[in-house]
């Protein structure tokens, strides 16, 4: 274990949604390189409380890169410099002594700031509520092995289903689009045999709800680079294709399914 010395943190502070907000600078004299980025913020917060100041608010929970709660822009990159890694899994050994680090909240029109580094990401839930599910009331399910799912299909669905819903894709997108998030869910469900009956209505409802809240995708690809699960933008192509097809379907004809 070794230590990093003399870090300067420039952190966004904003007391509430109506406050204009500003940057504040904090010095970290020394921190273990085994500490995670969030543990460094914990240490800073303990110091602030000690000094009678209000701790910096930031969202986090599992600290294992799976719940999707953590959400920091670090030096302008969603989740910071390490690819395929959520903020909570970023460790100080990725930085060096003397570094100046800028920490900001997700910035997107659809994600208003609640306080300091915490934002409201509930529009993502609205998209799922619109159609990101398979209607399967409890109790009526057939035996799980009755429909074999070819392994490549199950794997592709799983690749998409890994999305943790953190919103980094939105934060990274110059247009504040949520296409990667939405497409990941559409792909997960539309690839599986169980998802076929609602395939077309699902994609329509989800895309149209997404468009109500978020900007439009112009294929920058920043989302894929920021995604802590490295979800491929190929899913966006699949979503667009399904969406276009959905518009031409006659859903009363089984042959069109």
């Amino acid at each position: 274990m070794s230590h990093l010395e003399n870090l300067t943190l420039t952190i966004w502070r904003q007391s509430g949604p109506d406050d204009a907000g500003h940057f504040e600078r904090y010095r970290i004299e020394s921190i273990s390189d085994e500490a995670s980025f969030l543990e460094m913020l914990d240490v800073l917060n303990e110091r602030l409380i000690d000094e009678g100041k209000e701790a910096i608010v930031f969202d986090h929970d599992c600290r294992e890169g799976i719940c999707g709660t953590c959400s920091l822009m670090i030096d302008g990159q969603a989740h910071g410099p390490q690819r395929g890694t959520a903020t909570c899994q970023l460790h100080m050994r990725k930085f060096k002594s003397g570094d100046e680090i800028i920490v900001e909240p997700w910035r997107a029109t659809a994600f208003p700031i609640i306080k300091d580094l915490m934002v409201d990401r509930s529009p993502l839930d609205r998209i799922v509520e619109a159609g990101g599910f398979i209607t399967a009331p409890t109790g009526g399910a057939p035996d799980a092995n009755i429909i074999p799912v070819p392994k490549p299909v199950a794997d592709a669905a799983m690749d998409a289903a890994e999305c943790i819903g953190c919103g980094a894709c939105v934060a990274a997108c110059p247009n504040g689009a949520a296409n990667l998030f939405t497409a990941a869910k559409v792909s997960h469900l539309n690839l599986l045999p169980q998802g076929q009956p609602e395939r077309w209505s699902r994609v329509e409802a989800m895309v149209e709800t997404m468009d109500e809240y978020f900007g439009s995708c112009t294929n920058h690809g920043e989302c894929e680079a920021a995604c802590p699960k490295s979800i491929s933008i190929d899913v966006i192509a699949l979503m667009h294709r399904d969406y276009r097809k959905a518009k031409f379907k006659n859903r009363k004809l089984i042959s069109q399914i």
Binding site: S32, V43, L48, I66, G68, K115, S122
Partner: protein, 640 residues
């Protein structure tokens, strides 16, 4: 107050009990269901599945979670898998065997009827989750794949890469989201439940605090479900998510719900050891890794060589040596204690000598790196991100950590607590796992409770209440609870002491870990019981919370949670002290056989300890529910 611990296990042979129950339960007509309001606290596997199912049935459901989205509940972090008695592999599995393994795994300290039902519905869970689109791992032929987990000699564990909890929770969350979209469920996110309100001895509703605005308010309902997860964070360092806490269950306890077996906590053998003192939590490395990883330490004390330099003959594969038939898959409590002994004997590995090796080199040689990567790739990546070491090249270092809590709110067969109308599901209740939970059984239990048990049993309670008025939020009991909660939070803010909630939490955790962790003694527990009240007093006089109560204030939230952890901590130690035997996760050093294995005392302790609140955890009253073993013979648990 009287505490009624009648289990209400239905009559009849074990295999027929659940059917008998369902055949006799009272039903609510579909059109009448919307007249009943059910308040569900928690959106993890248990809460989300219960809410979605009950809304679908037509009940008027409200869901509360302190998370920003229901999808972030701690269930999301489960890695390894979910058990079910499907017997798809034809390896001899059956409902009876899953039932037996679970009772045995729990060291014969759980209620037979509940566990049998759990094994029965396990089969439906897999069907349900597949229908919802959970992308479980598949074989090349397209059928579901399974693997083995600790405490079982069968392959009955279904999984979705190393993210089974994530995929199951997303499945349940999507069903919940559908109901929210349809208007069947009202969601209260970033809202924390602070109290249960009872009127005439029945649950009448809850009091909550909006974490964003600080608003404290009441919600009235016909029934309340607490699916609020476990209390493993009492140890401060645990594999639980940072926000997991005991407040909901604890506050219910203070309102009359008996708290059962608080000392039954599970210390998971395979976590990444603590690296330094800034550590805020510990990370689990799924138990599934023990399918292919071999656990060892150097045979000699003080061996400083790197792992690769230590020849085979100088390594102690202690699990394989001590438990030849289960080997590296020995149950969690046993594996954890064995690791503790290895480290305590001076043979620990790593910079702080606080771990044991989990070595994949044999598996990589036998199966090839690609296969190992396919099975555990994401876990290996996670390990590397946290430790900076690559487990394909050097063995992982692991050490036990607090992981799961078998204790919780006492519930009967219907999952009702000792307060009528107040239910508890998932990890928050004490049912099913006895003194030790087997791997891949918590996800099973959460979904069983939510999808397949509560929707029936709550109806049975509600049916006779049709068209009867219930107390509204203007009832004095609600007002009193609101005022009490408000005053408590003002007190934290006004205290102006010198130490943060986190500081107290860390100190609390140290006491509990030292004296009520993997190994307990009467002497140590007595020490804890003198240190805890003193530290709690200091907490009350010297707590410092900065910021205000009208905007989001995570320091203030933490203060409330730590307050409740203190009280629970005292009860845990008392429970551990009173239980003069070793069983499962509760290991009292005084009660062990010549080989160091846990020694149960079935004559005196084949019961559930359920504690009644009396105003002070140090004076809580202990009640007993005797466990009746009709089917299974109490036997010494052997994994040799």
């Amino acid at each position: 107050m009287t505490v009624n611990l009648e289990s209400k296990s239905p009559a009849g042979p074990i295999a027929d009990k659940w059917d008998n129950y369902k055949a006799n339960l009272k039903l609510v007509n579909p059109n009448n269901k919307r007249k009943f309001k059910v308040l569900i606290v928690g959106s993890g596997l248990a809460g989300a599945s219960a809410a979605a199912t009950m809304a679908e049935l037509g009940y008027d459901v409200e869901v509360f979670t302190f998370h920003d989205s229901p999808r972030r509940a701690h269930s999301i972090a489960a890695q390894g898998g979910i058990n079910a008695a499907k017997n798809y592999r034809g390896d001899g599995d059956s409902i009876y065997r899953l039932f037996y393994d679970t009772i045995k795994g729990g060291d014969f300290r759980s209620r037979e009827a509940n566990v049998y039902r759990l094994a029965q519905v396990s089969v439906n869970i897999i069907d349900q989750m597949v229908a919802q689109g959970v992308p479980f791992a598949r074989e090349y032929g397209g059928l579901l794949d399974t693997r083995s987990f600790g405490g079982a000699q069968l392959q009955r564990t279904f999984y979705a890469r190393g993210q089974t909890g994530q995929q199951l929770l997303l499945g349940a969350y999507q069903q919940l989201a559908r109901q929210i979209g349809l208007g069947g469920v009202k969601l209260w996110n970033r809202v924390e439940m602070l109290d249960v309100v009872t009127v005439d001895g029945r649950a009448a509703g809850i009091v909550t605090r909006d974490l964003v605005t600080g608003e404290i308010r009441s919600h009235a309902g016909h029934a309340v479900v607490l699916a609020t997860g476990g209390y493993g964070n009492v140890f401060f360092l645990s594999t639980n998510a940072m926000a997991c806490n005991v407040t909901a269950a604890w506050r219910a306890h203070r309102k009359g719900a008996a708290f059962a077996n608080p000392c039954y906590t599970q210390i998971h053998p395979t976590c990444i050891p603590q690296a330094d003192d800034t550590q805020s939590k510990l990370t689990l490395m799924s138990e599934s890794l023990r399918n292919d990883g071999r656990v060892w330490v150097p045979s000699a004390v003080g061996d400083e060589r790197a792992a690769a330099q230590i020849p085979e003959g100088e390594r102690d594969y202690y699990l394989e040596r001590l438990y030849p038939s289960f080997g590296n898959l020995a149950p969690r409590d046993i594996s954890s204690r064995a690791a503790k002994r290895a480290v305590d004997s001076g043979r620990g590995v790593g910079p702080l000598k606080n771990g044991v090796y989990l070595d994949f080199s044999d598996a990589i040689n036998r199966l090839g790196k690609e296969v190992v990567k396919e099975r555990y790739g994401n876990l290996f990546d996670m390990y590397e991100r946290i430790t900076g070491e690559n487990p394909y090249d050097v063995p992982m270092r692991i050490y036990p950590a607090s992981h799961y809590t078998m204790g919780g709110l006492w519930v009967d067969y219907e999952l009702m607590t000792t307060v009528p109308g107040l239910y508890s599901a998932g990890e928050a209740n004490f049912s099913d796992h006895g003194a030790n939970r087997l791997g891949a059984s918590a996800l099973m239990q959460g979904l069983a409770d939510g999808y397949f048990v509560l929707p029936y049993t709550i109806g049975n309670y509600l049916a006779p209440m049709l068209n009867q008025p219930i107390p509204g939020t203007d009832h004095p009991a609600f007002k009193a609870a609101e005022e009490e909660a408000g005053a408590r939070f003002s007190r934290y803010l006004d205290n102006k002491g010198s130490r943060s909630p986190d500081w107290f939490h860390r100190e609390l955790g140290k006491i509990i870990w030292t004296h009520c962790g993997m190994e307990r003694t009467a002497e140590g527990l007595q020490t804890a019981l003198s240190e805890l009240p003193a530290l709690y007093e200091e907490f009350q006089s010297d707590l410092k919370v900065t910021g205000d109560g009208q905007s989001i204030n995570q320091t203030l939230e933490k203060a409330g949670r730590v307050d409740d952890f203190f009280q629970l901590g005292m009860l845990m130690c008392r429970d551990a002290l009173e239980r003069n035997e070793s069983c499962g996760g509760h290991f009292r050093a005084e009660y062990q056989d010549e080989e160091g294995e846990a020694q149960r005392d079935d004559d005196n302790f084949a019961h559930v300890a359920a504690w009644e609140w009396t105003g002070d955890p140090m004076n809580a009253v202990r009640h007993q529910e005797e466990l009746q073993y009709e089917v299974i013979h109490l036997a010494k648990r052997s994994y040799k």
